[in-house]
Every structure is written in C-alpha cells, then in structure tokens.
C-alpha cells in the first residue's frame, strides 16, 4: 500500500486564475459550492421565500388588487375568515373531495396495476390507455367531461336512459356535481398512481411467487400475502402524494362548472382565487390561504405520525 501525500491537482490552468484564490483551500471549496448554488437560491428566495413572507404581511392589511387600501388591520382578516360560512364550506368541500377521490384513486390504481402485472395480454396497450389521460391538460379533460355529463345529449345520461333510469343534471345539480368532478378526476389522474404501483409490483422478486405456488398458494393468496405487504411503502407514498394533490383541487372543478361558484363544489383554492381576483380583496385572500396552509400542515403532521407508527410496528 503506497501512501502518497495526496496532492490535490487543480485543473484550472495557472494557479493564479483560480477563483477565490485569496481564500484557503477549504474556504475556497465552500465558496465554489455556494457559487453553484446561487442561481437556485436566488430563484428560491425570489419566487418562494419572499412571496410567502409577503403573503403573511398582506394577510394583516386591507390591500386591494386595485392598489387601494394596504393599511394594517391586525387580525381582522383572520377573524373574518374564521367567521365566514363560505370559507368553512369551501374548506369542507375540499376535505370531502379529498376523501371521495383518494379512496378510488388508490384502489382503482392498485386494481389496474394488479391486472397488468399478472400478465394481461397486450401490456403496452393497457399501460398506454391507463396512463394516457394523465397527460392531458385540465382544460381538455374538463371539456371532455362537460360533454359526457351534458344533461340533454351527454353519454352519461344516455347510459342512464338505456338502463331505464331518470337523467341527471350531473354538473348542475348540487347533489351530484361533486361526484361528477370526482369521477372525472379519477379517470384523469389514476394513471399516475397506477404507474407507481406497477413499478413497485415489478420490483417484487419472482422467486417469492414461485416458492409460494410450490407451497400451494393460489393467485389470490399470493396477492394477499406477498404482493400487498410489499406494496406498503408504495401505498404510503401514493397516499401522501394523493392527499396533497386532492387538497389542491381547483382547475377541473372550476372549469367543469364554467367558473360558476357552486356551494357544493367551491374548493378552498377557488375561494382564495375569488376573494383575491374576483372581489379584489388581496388581504382577505392571503388570510384564507394561510388558514388553508394551517390545514395542510395539520394533514402533513398527521400523516408523518401515522407513517412513523407503521414503521415502528
């Protein structure tokens, strides 16, 4: 073993040309790494840190989009938000949508992945058709589903009529419009979860299945005792991603209802938009968004605690 004093070779031509040459070698490395980080840090500060801080400041003022106002109003916006029935309704709608959409988005994705993984013929076709809707823009899927749900000529009601059932005003009836948005959302985004599950399934070693079948386990038993337990990490990941995505409900709900504020589908993000950009109340809008932020933090903490529990078990 030869121990040569490792002389660092700096490949930057003449030594005098090195940047930060007045600094010591350790310090210089640090400075160089900061120089590499700088572009990102500047963008991060400019487009994330500063808006967050400015948003907090705005939420304590009566700043209007029209440039008027801007005076300090203390906690008045927060007090109004907490006493605003529309705010609570939007928050509840958002939570309700998250519950309604997350369950099928996980289960349907699992089912699809299991079918493809167990070797349905024409794999590429299934993968493509399950994942394809996810690539569409929200404007496109909204348009598609507005047509499907059209009360007079839509495919959904034609199916109901064929079954001898009464047609439904899917998107306009407050009893059904949230369900319509959930259906469209599942069709649109289930492909992503399907891919995650499929990738996880294909990582399960084939030998385990072979060993199980030698022991006489049927396909159902194999799925239950081998596939599902090994998918736990994927499920946790999908759940976290899905809950956060569902909480951010806005674009498809807004577009499918043509921008109309329906009490049963107005999401909290839509209410933030309405307060700020329709009613021009920036201060109030900022306050609502921090109430929403608090909700997300709570959900995040609950999830973190729950997943830690799982790991300890």
């Amino acid at each position: 073993m030869t121990t040569t004093a490792s002389t660092r070779v700096i490949v930057t031509g003449r030594r005098d040309d090195t940047p930060f040459r007045h600094a010591g070698p350790r310090r210089r490395e640090e400075l160089i790494s900061w120089a590499f980080l700088a572009p990102f840090l500047i963008a991060f500060a400019l487009f994330l840190v500063w808006p967050i801080l400015h948003g907090i400041y705005l939420s304590f003022t009566d700043q209007s989009l029209t440039g008027a106002g801007g005076g300090f109003v203390g906690f008045a916006n927060y007090a109004e938000a907490l006493g605003d029935p529309v705010m609570w309704q939007s928050l509840w709608n958002t939570v309700w949508f998250t519950v309604l959409s997350t369950v099928p988005l996980v289960l349907v994705a699992l089912l699809m992945a299991a079918l493809v993984d167990r070797g349905l013929p024409g794999q590429w076709l299934w993968r493509l058709s399950f994942f394809m809707p996810y690539l569409l823009a929200s404007t496109v899927i909204s348009q598609i589903w507005v047509w499907i749900f059209n009360p007079q000529i839509g495919a959904a009601n034609n199916i109901l009529k064929a079954l001898g059932l009464e047609p439904i005003a899917w998107l306009q009836n407050p009893d059904t419009n949230m369900m319509a948005i959930v259906i469209a959302t599942v069709w649109w985004t289930v492909g992503f979860n399907f891919l995650l599950y499929l990738a996880a399934m294909q990582n399960i070693p084939q030998q385990q299945y072979e060993a199980a079948s030698l022991d006489g386990a049927g396909p159902w038993r194999q799925f239950w005792s081998i596939t599902l337990p090994q998918l736990a990490p994927a499920t946790v990941l999908i759940l976290i991603l899905q809950v956060l995505a569902s909480l951010k409900l806005f674009d498809q709900a807004y577009q499918m209802l043509g921008g109309v504020a329906s009490d049963t589908t107005r999401s909290i993000v839509q209410y933030i938009y309405e307060a700020g950009f329709v009613s021009y109340r920036f201060g109030y809008s900022a306050a609502i968004s921090y109430v929403f932020f608090a909700l997300i933090v709570i959900v995040g903490v609950v999830q973190a605690v729950a997943t830690r529990r799982k790991k300890e078990l």
Partner: protein
C-alpha cells in the same frame, strides 16, 4: 430556407440574434409608425367569437378612415379574468389608453381611482352628448356628476322566435310579428300553442349552472313590476319578496318539460333553437349572428311585458379611460376622437345584434331596414341594469350567487321563498364588506 449571403453558421446566428434583439427593443419603444406622426392607441376589450369579428372590422374601418391614430386592440377572455387583468394593468401603471367595460362593472371601479372621468365638453364638441343617447343608457355612465363610461351599445335579453313554427301555431299577427301578450297566463297560453307545432320544446331557455342566465330573466321580469332591488352601502338588500317569489314561480312553470326542458344548459338551448326544433328562445342579442348563420327563419322582439311595466334586462359595452398617472394630452385627445368615431360608425355593431347606443345611428332610415335588429331597438328605452354595488354586474360573483340560490327552485321545485332568503343572506354578507377599491369608504363622486 437557406440563409442569404455567404455566412458561416456562427456569423449567421450572431447576426440573427442581433436582429432579433433590435426588434425586441424596438417593440418597447412607444408605437409610432415609421416616417409619420400616427399615434398608436392601446385598446383592450373582451369581445370574442362573432362579436370579436364585428369589432375587428369596425376597428379596421376607423383605422383606415384617418391617419392621426392607429388602434392596437388586445382581446382578453370575457368575464372576471378580463377585469382582473385590466385592474392589475391600471394598478401597475401600464393601463391601455382606452378599454371596454360592462357599464354595470363601472360603479365598483370608479371609487378606486382606476378610471379617469370623461370631459363632457370635449365629448360634446365631437357630437357626443346627452341628446344623442337614450336617457337610461347615458345616465348609467355617471357616478355622481362625473361621467365614467360612454356606452357603445345596449345588449338586452330578448325573445327570438322561429317564424315558421309560430306561424303554424297561429301566433303571428298580420305583420308577421309575434302576437303580443300582456300577462303570464296569456304568454303561457301562447307557448302551449307553439309547443303543438314545434318538434322540440316551445321555448329554449338554458340556465343550468349559469347564474347570469337565471338572473337576466329573473331581474327583467322583476323590473316589470316597476320595482328595483336596492343595495345600500353598509345596509341591507331591499327586495320585494312577493314579487320575487312570483317571478320564480313563473320561471318554474316555464320549465315543466312541455314548454321548456327542465334540465337545459345554455349551449343545448342555443343548439335546440338553431336547429329549428323549438319555437322560441330567450337569450341575449349576442346570439343573433349564430342564428343567422344557422339559416333558420326567425325574428326577435322584447321579452313580453307580463307584469305591467315594460322593462328589459340589459348591459352595455362602454368605453372607459383606465387611469394614467400622467396621461399624454395628445394621446388622450386622440382617444376622444377614436371613441366618437366608433360611436358614429356603430351601425356595423348592430350586425352583431347589439343595439347601438348612439341615437343618430338607430334613428337613421337604414336602421329601420335592419331586421330583426329594428324590431327590438325600442328595448334601449326600457333597459334595466344590475342594481348598483361594487360586487354586481356582468361576470361578477353576484349573478353566480343568485344562480346558486335559485337553481334548486327551477330544477327541482324547491321553495322559492327559501331561495330568495338565502340569496338575501349572501348579498347582505357582501354588502357588509367595504368596496375593495375604496376600503376606507372615503370616495365621493
């Protein structure tokens, strides 16, 4: 395409990027057509579709008729996004020279200093004054004693009818116009007669998920009671509940599945009438071009006066001066000229169905020959606008709130009185909020 000259790739790219940079910088310079003193005026509007085509041709005409100014239009999507952008441009000090706003949206804006008021004397010199407008339309432009908007048109909510179907039902008079009806019962009778000769429904009325559509019909009929909804700042909404309930019940009667489809959205209603399946169609005049293109035999009239007082729900596209902190006097001068030119040339605007606001246009003999526009020109004398408040008007949440409150009545026969109560609660909550354009409430017109 091969690059001209004998350049290396690198030279060509360098030259090209230099040229692009120069062009970009030139784009920042104030618009002046090369070698002349023509000023470019920025004009924002929200007219697309058929309206947009008509607007473009009007602008081409005024641009071609003189060389003092050139209008550069910017078209943005209709509704609240348009107003958001216009407000932000004004706040950011980069407002266009002139813009179109709905007249009903102006009251919410005027206090915030987002708009400059029009100089009445200057307009009068150009032939634009009180005498050249129907009274309610001219008045609508004022906040206090200052004029903030000058109407290009009124676009009322009207009744179109298929002349073949209504004739077959025996509902046309000797002039070939729809027989007049003057009470809800009479009108329902007429509709039932029409239902007999229409392949689809007697009436197409799309309202589902469309607060504006519900509001247009409701408020027009409510105003026929010689009533108006009051929205006093910081107070409570004034509404005659009996009249409101009566109107809602009547609207519900229309949607019985015989006269009109119970579940109908706007697009489907347009399609039903345009394909000649229904006898009548309640709509805004902006659908006129659609029906002409569809080639069906039709005419149009005011929504019949069923409750005694002629009243037609309408809004106006109006010219406003977005505030500029140091407006260039010469450009301002040209903006006045442009608006006057547009009003005088607004005969073409009638082709899009709108009733031009400028009386010399609508009282001209040529206008009488314009059918069906001439058949509802009278509507301009009876226009009723949204009640005034900072949160009302076209594309506002107010109409959405109305829709959210009353749709259940029209769709599934919910209790109309409860719906009006709910609407009242929501509006009172809005009334309790200060106008965001004037949070301290210090503005005096």
């Amino acid at each position: 395409m091969t690059p001209p000259l004998d350049l290396s790739r690198r030279q060509f790219l360098a030259a090209a990027s230099l040229a692009a940079g120069t062009a970009l910088l030139a784009g920042c310079a104030p618009g002046t057509a090369s070698g002349s003193t023509t000023q470019t005026l920025q004009f924002w509007h929200l007219l697309s579709g058929g309206d947009g085509v008509t607007m473009s041709s009007l602008l081409d005409k005024v641009n071609a008729a003189q060389d003092a100014y050139r209008i550069r239009p910017t078209v943005l999507a209709w509704g609240s996004p348009y107003y958001t952008k216009l407000a932000m441009a004004g706040t950011g000090g980069r407002a266009p020279d002139v813009a179109i706003m709905h007249a009903t949206r102006v009251p919410g804006w005027a206090p915030g200093g987002l708009l400059d008021s029009w100089d009445l004397d200057r307009l009068a010199e150009l032939g634009v004054d009180e005498s050249t407008f129907p009274a309610p339309i001219w008045q609508k432009g004022f906040a206090g004693d200052r004029l903030f908007s000058v109407a290009l048109d009124a676009h009322p909510f009207v009744l179109m009818y298929n002349t073949d179907i209504c004739d077959a039902a025996g509902q046309l008079d000797s002039d070939g116009r729809l027989r007049e009806t003057s009470s809800p019962e009479e009108f329902l009778e007429q509709l039932r007669a029409v239902a007999g000769s229409a392949e689809g429904h007697a009436l197409s009325y799309g309202y589902l998920g469309d607060g504006a559509q519900m509001w247009r019909l409701f408020y027009g009929l409510y105003a026929q009671h010689d009533l108006a909804i009051e929205l006093p700042v910081g107070g409570k909404m004034g509404i005659d509940k009996d009249a409101a309930v009566e109107v809602l019940e009547f609207m519900r009667t229309l949607l019985d599945g015989e006269i009109a489809a119970t579940q109908n959205d706007y697009g489907t209603a347009v399609a039903e009438f345009a394909t000649g399946k229904s006898g009548m169609f309640m709509t805004g005049v902006w659908e006129l071009r659609t029906m002409q293109n569809a080639g069906i035999p039709f005419d149009a009239t005011m929504i019949p006066t069923l409750y005694g007082t002629p009243a037609v729900y309408a809004d106006s596209h109006s010219f406003v001066l977005p505030h500029q902190s140091d407006a260039d006097p010469q450009r301002r001068e040209l903006t006045y000229r442009f608006v006057a030119d547009m009003l005088k040339g607004s005969f073409g605007w009638a082709e899009a169905g709108h009733v031009p606001a400028y009386l010399p246009v609508t009282t001209s003999p040529e206008y009488d020959d314009l059918v069906p526009q001439a058949h509802y020109a009278e509507a301009a004398e009876h226009v009723v606008y949204d009640p005034e408040a900072w949160f009302t008007g076209s594309g506002s949440n107010f109409q959405g709130e109305f829709g959210a409150a009353v749709q259940g009545v029209l769709l599934s026969g919910d209790d109309p009185a409860a719906a009006i109560d709910r609407f009242e609660r929501r509006v009172n909550a809005l009334l309790a909020q200060p106008n965001p354009a004037d949070p301290e409430g210090t503005w005096k017109p």
